[in-house]
């Protein structure tokens, strides 16, 4: 066990953990922030998506010892940025969630996308979001919500919310 200080949603947190403990488990079981979800533990599903310095990463693959001074943004803190707040609002307006389990990862991934690419093309949306599984398959509404958060019209073929 070693002590690490991470910058979590704008606050410094000291945590004690093994060097190889993934950030996912540090967040969930050491810090007690349960919003970031465990789905596969193997980089397939994106349920554990958080941002490191604004880039979406799979926290199940990120040992705590490699986080360093980078800013960690999770679903609990994503609404602090204007883009994140817009994404959350769009998710509610479109009523994206079914079970909701994947949606923390989806929202963080969508926020990372829109922070870098405010008006993404459909191909860019797909490329950024394809790593995030939604077992309930709410993909139609995820696309619609991203368009809404980006201030773009509802994508072709999708039903406007």
């Amino acid at each position: 066990m070693a002590a690490y200080t991470i910058d979590l949603n704008g606050r410094k947190r000291s945590v004690e953990a093994d060097a190889d403990m993934p950030l996912l488990w540090v967040l969930r079981d050491v810090v007690g922030a349960k919003g970031t979800k465990f789905g596969c533990g193997a980089a397939y599903c994106g349920a554990c998506t958080v941002m490191l310095d604004g880039a979406a990463i799979r926290s199940c693959q990120m040992p705590i010892s490699r986080v360093g001074a980078r800013k960690v943004t999770t679903i609990e803190g994503v609404g602090a940025s204007p883009v994140g707040a817009r994404v959350q609002a769009a998710w509610l307006e479109v009523d994206v969630a079914q079970c909701g389990y994947c949606q923390a990862g989806q929202i963080v991934a969508a926020t990372a996308l829109l922070q870098k690419t405010p008006k993404p093309t459909d191909a860019e949306i797909e490329a950024s979001m394809n790593g995030n599984l939604c077992r309930c398959a709410t993909y139609n509404r995820i696309r619609t919500a991203i368009h809404k958060a980006a201030g773009m019209p509802t994508p072709a073929g999708e039903v406007a919310a």
């Binding site: 066990m1 945590v15 004690e16 093994d18 403990m21 993934p22 488990w25 079981d29 050491v30 810090v31 007690g32 922030a33 349960k34 919003g35 979800k37 465990f38 789905g39 596969c40 533990g41 193997a42 397939y44 599903c45 349920a47 999770t74 679903i75 609990e76 609404g79 959350q88 998710w91 509610l92 009523d95 969630a97 079914q98 079970c99 909701g100 389990y101 994947c102 949606q103 923390a104 929202i107 949306i125 797909e126 979001m129 394809n130 790593g131 995030n132 599984l133 939604c134 077992r135 309930c136 398959a137 709410t138 993909y139 139609n140 509404r141 995820i142 696309r143 994508p155 073929g157 039903v159």
Partner: protein, 740 residues
């Protein structure tokens, strides 16, 4: 160091609840009896149910509470796993109670079968089972509020009416808000539910309007909601490493070595029993974090007795099915007319063999359960679709009285039928008992994929006859399925009423079975998710063989006069015609390489017809570009916002299954272990889904399932239309479709 997160259930979050009873808070409990349960409602027992469900809940139902400030608390009785029932059931109550939806707060009930009937999520049954009872609960409350107002004013109740949140006396113009009336209404004798008057649906203000997922704000901000999020003071973490072979047993394990690993608190072999839905044999690891527990598990090298299943494999089943299929069926399920004579007299005979694999549920939240013993009392927090059988299973397995077990139903991160089984509950209860501290058991994804109750595979041989006009006149099926101890496995049966039974005069369904030990269970649209593929694909083949348009061919069957035993052919014909219209079937000019495929299917009391527009690349890659769905689920779509979401999800789920999902077995083991080998549908493969409902004069029915079955054959039929190649087994073999 751990933060203890508050989980919002009635038991744990009293602060979020109004205080108990009229006496304490001046509020009203509306307790209502459902038919068959006779008990006087008392405020006190209702208070116990609403605020802190007890181990011995009284025999009454309590759903509604109104605070002096007008805030209405409604209990959602059923488990929520993404189907939207936590929003929908309270909508029914709120509508008839006549309150503003914005004034409603919803609390999730605990498992409490005495108070709340039929607390489960399955079979798309919440709507048909609760449509009327829940509205009657609300209407009874409204009647009590009216009575309280009438008593206050000294006027006949018949002169009073309600509008959202208040009672009005028309003649005098007086009105009182529900919050003001609540205390008095609580003293009014509750009316018999079957006597209350329900609203004219034309006056609905909540039902039929878009109501957002009640947990939406908590979901988008990452609040703890799910079983996996539960955290209790002093809690430790567990993994349970089961024998990879079904029914195998753990003989011994390298316990001392693994016990010395960081964070490990306890390690022990669990004998298990013979019931895979109960307790398997394996090694339980308890540690100070799940990470440590799971790391320790990876270092285990247990000796297994692989048992009777060690030789089973998918290849073995396929080979056995090949020998069974051409032989006479072991059993005839249905025999109408004389099928062999009709086939002999047919102008054209078409034969085909279809098959589909085992598939796995894979809800995104892995199975988990938190258990805390207090002496001989047990408290459980878990994501389950079916809590009461879980309670009974624990009681039976561990020898504790069922009424010593309390279950908190957490929001489920998906169910799809997996959480109808409660094996994880028994495991957690067993491990926590020995640990002496609260335990959160969490399965890895690999555990979840290797220890499912799978949708069984199946093999169908069809033979059908057409007359000179192309009319379907004979149908013969030999279905090879699986049995366990001589009985057909769960979800491996063919209904004798399967379409086109009743629509073809000479028809025979036969089955043969082969033994398996693989646990099977219902998966979203059980049976239908497979039966639709084989039957609707073969019907499409027959249409082409008859030289007819596939929709016209099926309409000719459906439009035949006569009754069809529980199947409303005109309802189906109507959705078929509507989907043809909406999709531009036969009329719309399609981009090069694109083609349309059609299928219809009746399941879970819903009539659905679907059209898929698809293309197949030279590489063999199948792409669905758009799906049109028309469904008839009766007179009322209760929450249109969620209804569309459910249908889109079910359709994309079906497309995902067709494109890539397959579970195989070798040496008694499941060969797939994570999403890399079990590719659930992703955004890139998810086309837009157009959803439309036809309203018919029938009681409303459910939507979790019936939109799924038709899309699989509709996609395969589109592949045929695009390529001339018939998909006769799932998942679609893209290699077969390759042209370069």
């Amino acid at each position: 160091m751990n933060a203890h997160v508050k989980i919002e259930t009635p038991r744990l979050s009293r602060r979020t609840m109004l205080r108990a009873g009229a006496a304490a808070g001046g509020g009203l409990f509306l307790s209502a009896r459902l038919p068959g349960i006779a008990a006087a409602a008392t405020e006190q027992t209702a208070a116990r149910t609403l605020n802190a469900p007890t181990l011995n809940a009284p025999a009454l139902n309590a759903y509604v509470k109104i605070a002096p400030d007008g805030l209405v608390t409604i209990v959602a009785k059923n488990p929520e796993c993404g189907q939207g029932v936590k929003t929908m059931l309270p909508m029914l109550i709120a509508e008839e109670l006549d309150v503003d939806w914005k004034d409603v707060r919803i609390v999730q009930a605990m498992n409490d079968p005495v108070t709340y009937p039929r607390q489960f999520a399955g079979g798309s049954l919440a709507t048909p089972m609760n449509w009327e009872p829940m509205r009657r609960v609300g209407a009874a409350g409204r009647q009590m509020l009216i009575q309280a107002a009438a008593d206050t004013w000294g006027v006949p109740a018949g002169e009073c009416s309600t509008e959202p949140g208040l009672v009005r006396h028309g003649a005098s113009g007086k009105s009182l808000r529900y919050g003001e009336l609540a205390a008095r209404a609580a003293t009014v004798a509750p009316p018999k539910l079957e006597t209350v008057t329900l609203k004219d649906p034309k006056t609905f203000r909540i039902i039929g309007r878009a109501q957002a997922n009640i947990d939406g704000p908590a979901i988008v901000s990452g609040k703890p909601l799910y079983g996996i999020d539960v955290e209790l003071p002093g809690m430790k973490y567990a993994v349970f490493h089961k024998c990879p072979v079904f029914y195998g047993r753990c003989l011994e394990a390298n316990i001392p070595e693994v016990k010395a690993m960081p964070g490990v608190i306890d390690l022990h072999v669990i004998e298990g029993n013979k019931d895979l839905g109960g307790l398997s044999s394996g090694v339980a690891v308890v540690a100070d974090s799940w990470w440590h527990a799971n790391k320790a598990r990876a270092a285990l090298t247990p000796q297994w007795d692989e048992g009777p299943f060690g030789g089973h494999s998918t290849d073995g089943y396929d080979a056995r099915a090949k020998t069974l299929a051409p032989a006479a069926p072991q059993q005839i399920l249905r025999k109408d007319g004389d099928v062999d004579a009709a086939l002999a007299g047919a102008a054209k005979v078409v034969e085909a063999e279809y098959s589909y694999p085992f598939v796995s549920h894979q809800p995104l939240e892995p199975q988990n359960c938190t258990a805390r013993w207090d002496g001989d009392k047990l408290e459980i927090w878990t994501s389950t679709q079916n809590p009461e059988p879980g309670r009974q299973l624990i009681a039976k397995t561990l020898g504790v009285p069922a009424d010593h077990i309390a279950i908190h139903m957490m929001r489920c991160g998906g169910g799809f039928g997996r959480r109808l089984s409660n094996d994880y509950m028994v495991e957690a209860a067993t491990i926590a008992k020995r640990a002496g501290v609260p335990i959160k058991l969490l399965w890895s994804r690999e555990d979840d994929m290797r220890h499912d109750m799978y949708r069984p595979g199946g093999y169908h041989s069809f033979k059908a006859g057409l007359d000179t006009s192309g009319k379907l006149v004979a149908w013969k099926t030999h279905f090879v399925t699986f049995s366990r101890d001589g009985k057909v496995v769960n979800s491996g049966d063919l209904a004798p009423s399967e379409f086109p039974a009743h629509f073809v005069p000479d028809l025979q369904f036969g089955t043969s079975m082969m033994e398996t030990l693989i646990p099977t269970g219902p998966m979203r649209a059980p049976r239908s998710n497979a039966m639709s593929f084989v039957h609707q694909s073969f019907l499409d083949e027959l249409a082409h063989a008859a030289g007819q348009d596939p929709i016209a061919f099926q309409l000719a069957l459906l439009d035949q006069p006569g009754a069809h035993e529980g199947y409303d052919a005109p309802r189906m014909a109507a959705v078929v015609r509507a989907v043809a219209e909406r999709s531009g079937w036969g009329k719309r000019k399609l981009p090069p390489g694109h083609a349309l495929g059609f299928a219809q299917y009746y399941s879970h009391q819903g009539y659905f017809a679907e059209v898929v527009e698809a293309s197949v690349a030279a590489s063999g890659r199948v792409k669905a570009h758009k799906v049109w769905v028309v469904g008839d689920v009766g007179s009322q779509v209760i929450n249109p916002l969620n209804a569309e979401n459910q249908v889109q999800g079910a359709v994309l789920d079906g497309i995902g299954q067709a494109l890539g999902l397959e579970i195989t077995f070798a040496k008694g083991r499941t060969q797939q272990s994570n999403f890399g080998e079990y590719p659930l549908i992703r955004m890139a493969d998810a086309p837009p889904v157009d959803v439309h409902f036809l309203v018919s004069n029938h009681p409303p029915t459910g939507l979790g399932e019936p939109a799924l079955p038709p899309v699989i054959p509709a996609l395969c039929n589109a592949v045929f239309a695009a390529t001339g190649k018939r998909v006769r087994s799932l998942p679609i073999d893209q290699g077969m479709l390759k042209t370069v």
